[in-house]
Symmetry: C2
DNA sequence: GTCCTTATGTCAGTCACTGACATATAGGCT
DNA sequence: AGCCTATATGTCAGTGACTGACATAAGGAC
């Protein structure tokens, strides 16, 4: 009955997404997810630290790619640009997963508990970005600031891309970057 | 036995903070908190939606003050400055509560579940800021971006203030704002 | 085949949290 | 005073997330 373990893991993720879409997150029990995946509740909690986590797999790989992207940025660029380089490195990853992340996003948006976890994951990414910046010699406090600002820019780009998927993510990113620069150096404007 | 209800609420918050400091968040049960406050577990959950929430009271008032600060900003200022005006409006509130928020912050930092809730509360503040900006005529997407960036600046200021409480929060704020402007318009720099 | 590792099942238990119902108390009304 | 209503609380039973301890089965190395 026990083969690779990764099979069960994937079945659990699929079953969870299905059930969350069908009945909603709160009305789905871990035991039900496990049953649909053909395993027991205990196995569910061996694969995932808690019920929320079943929707947040692969965030570690994402974080590492992001940090690698920052590390790979040209030595002489400013911190914010380095962060945006990091995000550039994960664009492909994101654009490839759109079909899966769309329903996932809908589920997350419907359950406060999942939104909380998403925010925690995002904070983890910011932390990783800041750490990568520090390795480039950026002062810790400024590194966190740059990482958070970069994250905000990326969020803006993501939202735009969700609304207009026909335009490339990279395009949305540079558009958001432009908005940031306008915001930051427009003391005396307004539409 | 039932007087104002607010008494019990305050006792619960005090008991929770004490116990979390003594034994840690995870090793403290809601029943224990209730017992120390002289009420039952059921009463605890009548006052607070869940165990985490006992440490996050008053965030609603904070959010409203923040939004009011944005609304009260001069009509002609740019979005980011309006957000910083909002934060300026809560400075006094924060500086006054330092004695209480220091141990609270320590507890939160020690428990992942509490950090998650804190992030959720911060996201709520950003949402309120963005909504306030929209009421000033700022386009929704840009409003969220400005709110997040402003929040990042304020976080930076808060960290600085925690480390150097002898300097006023306002001073840290304008310092952080300077760092942001440097970050956003320094394509071609680096220390 | 034996042995070891790993994925899983089983079971009992703790604790967060909820709904339903009973009770007590403060304060207003007559 | 006596009554009445709203509100804070107590009591109790129940669900579901999550954990620790122990048993078992399957795959690979020898």
């Amino acid at each position: 009955m026990a083969r690779s373990g990764d099979d069960a893991r994937r079945r659990l993720q699929g079953a969870a997404l299905e059930l969350f879409l069908e009945r909603g997150y709160d009305d789905t029990t871990a035991a039900e997810i496990a049953a649909r995946a053909g395993v027991t509740e205990r196995t569910f909690f061996r694969h995932f630290k808690d019920k929320r986590e079943v929707l947040f797999d692969g965030e570690e790989a994402f974080r590492e790619t992001l940090a690698a992207g920052v590390a790979a940025a040209p030595v002489d660029v400013d911190p914010l640009s380095a962060v945006l380089c990091g995000y550039g490195a994960v664009e492909a990853m994101i654009e490839a997963n759109r079909a899966f992340s769309e329903p996932r996003h809908r589920v997350i948006a419907s359950a406060p508990a999942l939104q909380e976890r998403m925010l925690a994951k995002a904070a983890g990414l910011v932390e990783a970005l800041a750490a990568a910046l520090q390795r480039r010699g950026v002062e810790p406090g400024v590194a966190v600031l740059a990482a958070q600002v970069g994250s905000a820019v990326f969020n803006r780009a993501l939202d735009g891309w969700m609304a207009q998927p026909e335009t490339r993510l990279a395009e949305h990113l540079s558009r958001a970057e432009g908005e940031l620069r306008w915001l930051a150096l427009a003391p005396r404007d307004q539409a």
